[in-house]
């Protein structure tokens, strides 16, 4: 019963940690707008956590520059299991307009397993909420498979 309670709760309280991997700030602002009164992701239990140790879902924005890559990987490795990684915007997914640049180490999926990609430059808040909801389901699935 306790296990079921935890499983249910995992799907209802996903906390986000946001990593900026060289983003132009467009996606960052869109992510914040998801939490504003208009879109209010908190009604689904989403909360922006201050520390990676508190997070369930890691949201990565930006094309993962060579400088930021080790920091991104280090921050992701500090998130306790079960965790989900969501890339936001086209940059971490494909490199977007920065593709082929000498300073870009992305896409992120070369280094870690990415659960959900939300494409767009920048993605609409509706798309972000949709992606996060999908990530929440994956999170619940991962919790079910633990132990």
């Amino acid at each position: 019963m306790f296990k079921k309670l935890i499983e249910e709760s995992t799907g209802k309280s996903p906390w986000l940690f946001h990593i900026n991997a060289g983003s132009c700030n467009g996606c960052d602002i869109e992510l914040v707008s998801v939490l504003t009164p208009r879109y209010d992701a908190e009604r689904l239990g989403f909360k922006l956590a201050g520390s990676p140790r508190h997070a369930d879902i890691v949201v990565v924005t930006g094309p993962v520059t060579a400088q930021s890559l080790p920091r991104v990987l280090r921050a992701i490795s500090q998130v306790p299991e079960p965790r989900c990684i969501v890339t936001m915007g086209s940059c971490p997914q494909s490199g977007n307009v920065f593709r082929g640049s000498y300073s870009i180490a992305g896409p992120l999926s070369k280094y870690v397993h990415v659960d959900v990609d939300v494409a767009g430059c920048a993605p609409k808040p509706e798309a972000v909420i949709d992606g996060l909801a999908l990530a929440t389901q994956i999170l619940q699935q991962k919790r079910r498979e633990m132990k």
Binding site: I6, E7, S13, P37, L48, G50, S51, R53, H54
Partner: protein
């Protein structure tokens, strides 16, 4: 035989009511209502009222990471010590006519025990070895120092008012204070106690570390400060302590200033023609419901509303605010109480 019965009784007090289970359920509910109200004030739909429960159980199911630099025992034990202290305080706070433990000087005990949750966060944060926790630690200490002075003054004013009415000088027994109010009406009626209640309302958000006074746990600047390295169940226990602290502070307020409601419940039961054991049980049930409703109102007034309309203060602003405005109001109430107003 009676020893065993007593042991069972006290075990029930500690584990069920007014101890752990009551603290857990009503503290979390208060926290959920607070979040919902803040959301509604910001024109949002807001999380479900049961959201803190979901957060707590989710955190129980997460991996607990102990940093390599941390001292393991202190890091994992500190949250439990803080929660235990809060549950003990709740045992000392009377629910109108019912009090689990009573002593000659409960108020002094509560004053000391109120420090332990804050100290446990400091202890755990220091044990985690994180630099963010170091910054949070110094801020938390300053917050404690700021809040403690007006809190002591308010409690002194209440002790003096009831003490001079009883003719014993200072009355530090919370049970006696509530019993006196049940006979003579709530303390909130007199001028000195109105000032004390206003000061206490200002103290509650500072003591619980909620919004304008949460410089120690500022998530946007210092990664939630003292909690930066916590994850999984210990973090859940800290979140629970924060919720229980809201219940503790608001129910302390109710016991200090609205104790007269206990007398009202007694008269109501008498008018229904109830006496003896049944009256005690029903009176206690009504008491719990009334206490919880009052706690909700107080939470909305002095935590949710303040959260929705203010931005976070810097640490020196918190210190200045408490040692000038709040201490001033508390001093006025103390002087008035000394002249018997």
């Amino acid at each position: 035989m009676s020893i065993i019965l007593d042991a069972v009784k006290y075990l029930l007090y500690i584990l069920v009511f007014p101890g752990f289970l009551f603290c857990f359920l009503s503290g979390m509910l208060l926290c959920g209502i607070d979040r919902k109200i803040v959301a509604r004030m910001q024109k949002r739909v807001g999380p479900p009222v049961l959201q803190p429960f979901y957060d707590f159980f989710k955190l129980c199911g997460k991996e607990t990471i102990v940093p390599a630099a941390a001292s393991r025992t202190a890091f994992l034990l500190a949250p439990l010590v803080g929660l235990a202290a809060l549950v003990v305080i709740q045992l000392f706070i009377p629910v109108f006519n019912f009090s689990a433990f009573s002593g000659v000087a409960d108020i002094i005990v509560i004053l000391y025990l109120l420090l332990i949750p804050a100290l446990s966060v400091i202890f755990g944060g220091a044990a985690s070895g994180s630099p963010y926790a170091g910054v949070g630690l110094s801020r938390e200490m300053v917050t404690i120092i700021s809040v403690e002075l007006p809190l002591v003054l308010v409690l002194l004013a209440v002790a003096k008012t009831v003490g001079s009415a009883l003719g014993t000088g200072l009355c530090f027994s919370l049970t006696q204070i509530v019993a006196w109010q049940a006979q003579h009406g709530s303390l909130i009626g007199t001028p000195s106690m109105i000032a004390a209640a206003i000061a206490m309302l200002m103290i509650i958000p500072g003591e619980t570390g909620s919004h304008p006074f949460d410089a120690a746990e500022a998530e946007t600047e210092i990664c939630e400060g003292l909690l930066a390295e916590y994850s999984g169940a210990p973090l859940g226990v800290y979140k629970l302590s924060h919720a229980v602290k809201m219940l503790t502070m608001t129910s302390l307020f109710v016991a200090l200033f609205f104790g007269g409601i206990g007398g009202g419940i007694d008269r109501l039961l008498l008018s229904w023609g109830l006496t003896g054991g049944a009256a005690g049980a029903i009176g206690m049930l009504i008491g719990i419901v009334v206490l919880f409703l009052l706690c909700v109102v107080l939470t909305i007034v002095c935590i949710s509303f303040v959260h929705a309309v203010t931005a976070r203060l810097r640490i020196e602003q918190i210190f200045k605010y408490y040692w000038t405005v709040v201490t001033g109001v508390a001093l006025i109430s103390l002087v008035l109480a000394w002249y018997g107003l």
